[in-house]
């Protein structure tokens, strides 16, 4: 959908009285202008993957039946697909603020007989929420900064030294054993690449430089500037310094 499409839809359509669209006071967030919500929706539909992920909805509920998050939360992949199909801008905004972070991203919902990918739509909605610094994204990513720092700066996500008993008390006493013996146990691993404690394996310096270039050239690093400004500043400085050492200019 193009900007013109959205504008023409907005011009001809859903007045607040339309029974098939959420009213702002029902959807919540009446203080956010409809135009802003429509802009975010347009950002979602402009993603190149969107047309691969949504074909309509039979309302059969198979996606809900197989969804793990639907069993534990007030969450429904069917509502996500239907809101996107109906272009219900108010409801989509509500879902971006209240629902999307409950999705498990397991993609069981790909069982959809219509060929929809509700999990994929949610991935895009999350990206838009992050890109625009929505409150739900800030809340969902609070406490997650160190993971983003780790993956963006080292090229591996979870590291052996993350296994701290105070961070994972529910994982049992074995986590404490790993933590207490970490260096020794890592040195006992036969693969040479796995003697590391701060990364899952040893990543070459030249590889890291290439990864930093990817984050910078694709705008992926800048995506977090609104949701976590301090993390963004730290990572930007780290990457730019490293690239400068290599004589690479962005």
């Amino acid at each position: 959908m193009t900007a013109t499409d959205v504008q023409s839809q907005l011009a001809g359509a859903p007045a607040p009285a339309d029974a098939h669209y959420k009213l702002p006071d029902v959807a919540g967030y009446p203080d956010v202008p409809f135009e802003e919500k429509a802009r975010l929706f347009e950002e979602i539909t402009n993603d190149l993957r969107f047309s691969d992920y949504l074909y309509g909805c039979y309302e059969c509920g198979i996606c809900v039946a197989v969804c793990p998050s639907a069993r534990f939360y007030d969450f429904s992949p069917r509502r996500i697909a239907q809101a996107a199909a109906r272009e219900d801008v108010e409801l989509i905004y509500q879902q971006m603020q209240e629902d999307i972070w409950e999705c498990s991203q397991c993609f069981s919902c790909l069982r959809c007989p219509r060929g929809n990918n509700p999990g994929g739509i949610i991935t895009i909605m999350r990206e838009v929420a992050v890109n625009n610094g929505l409150a739900s994204a800030k809340e969902a990513l609070a406490g997650y900064s160190r993971i983003i720092y780790k993956i963006m700066s080292t090229g591996t996500q979870v590291s052996p030294d993350m296994l701290q008993p105070d961070a994972f008390p529910d994982w049992g006493p074995e986590t404490g054993d790993v933590s207490a013996n970490l260096d020794l146990w890592r040195r006992a691993l036969p693969p040479e690449t796995m003697h590391t404690t701060t990364t899952g394996w040893a990543v070459a310096d030249s590889t890291l430089i290439e990864l930093y270039l990817i984050w910078l050239h694709t705008g992926a690093l800048d995506m977090i500037s609104d949701v976590d400004a301090s993390l963004h500043a730290i990572l930007t400085e780290l990457m730019e310094e490293r690239l400068e050492d290599e004589g690479i200019e962005i």
């Binding site: 979870v158 994982w171 949701v227």
Partner: protein
Amino acid sequence: MTLTAGPDGRSSIPIESLKRKKDHFERGEDRRSLEDPRAELLELEDKGELVVQKIDHEALTLPTKYGRPKRIQKAHLWHHKSCGQCGHIPGYSTSIFWVMRQLGYDYHDPRDQTSCTAWNYYASATSNSAAQAAVAVRNFAAARETGYFPLIHCGTSYGHYKEVREELIRHPELRAEVRRIMGKLGKELVLPEEIVHYSEWFHAMRGEIAAKQVRDFTGIKVTVHPACHYYKLVEGDAIYDPDIYGGQRTAVVTGLAQALGADVRTYSTWFDCCGFGFRHILVQRDFTRSFATLRKIEVMKEEADPDVVLTHDTGCVTTLDKSQFAAKAHDRNVGLAVMSEAQFAALAMGAHPYKVCQLHWHSADYRPLLEKMGIDWEKAWAEFQADLKRLENGEKRYLDWDDVDN
């Protein structure tokens, strides 16, 4: 907009509005999953759009979900490691390497490899399609530079890379963007002829693995958790076999366990995910623990009474293994060993439970399983401790493959 009256003059259905919406969603071409991505890649290569790394060593051919034959290269493989396996379940990766060594197939364990970064992407969405595709292609280009063919350890990496491949095939603008970024790295847009998960290699090689079996697994009761990102994401690539579950579930893991003589048992919630959730396992584990316990472990125990649950992905092993401790405090019906089928196969072939399979990194109690396999775990632990002493004494800095095999 006012509501429109129907033919009876009484309906309040907004017919014009619905017609407009229906027009917008007229169904076009079904683009759920490409029928033959390999053919599409080769066509794009002919047009000079990308480079395809070909299978250039002996390969075995396996059937996929919709029948497309998929070739699995046996040797000379570039091991695309997994963050979670290497970081938290190192016996998983070590067992994959060990089995390959025991069968005499050469491989490359690269440092020129990053994570696929998909765990973070599915958890936090702090990336975009161009960055995700560039990370994938950078790794594939690095593999091609070595001449070794990529073998993906992680189910999520495998699933995500298949998504990336579909996006690159479908969207020329994404290919152009990735080529632009790769140009800055001095690399080309490279994709392999087939995207292969390690569990497909184990499935293909199950006959050779079983031929080297030294421990009798008759009577070992197994349940299998098939990994969502293996067979639900871009489902057409997953291996299915008419002789295993009648072709109605993926054949990997189960086929290997059966080849090793184990008693594979089914349970009703086999299709459910494990509860990993990507962000949930890290910052919202109440969901993960509940789902893993209530929908997987307890159901397996009640319906199948297994000795071990086997799975083939990083997140699934972590979730099913780590979620049981807290549930025990609530007197839930838990207490089930969890491991990858790679570790299971290694044990069958005589691997050391600590030096190779690294079971001391696991949380759920695996010792009753080892006893049933005829393994004296106390003796094995003492042997491992003796090796650790050598490291502590400074006799050696690291254990290596010679220490493990002898």
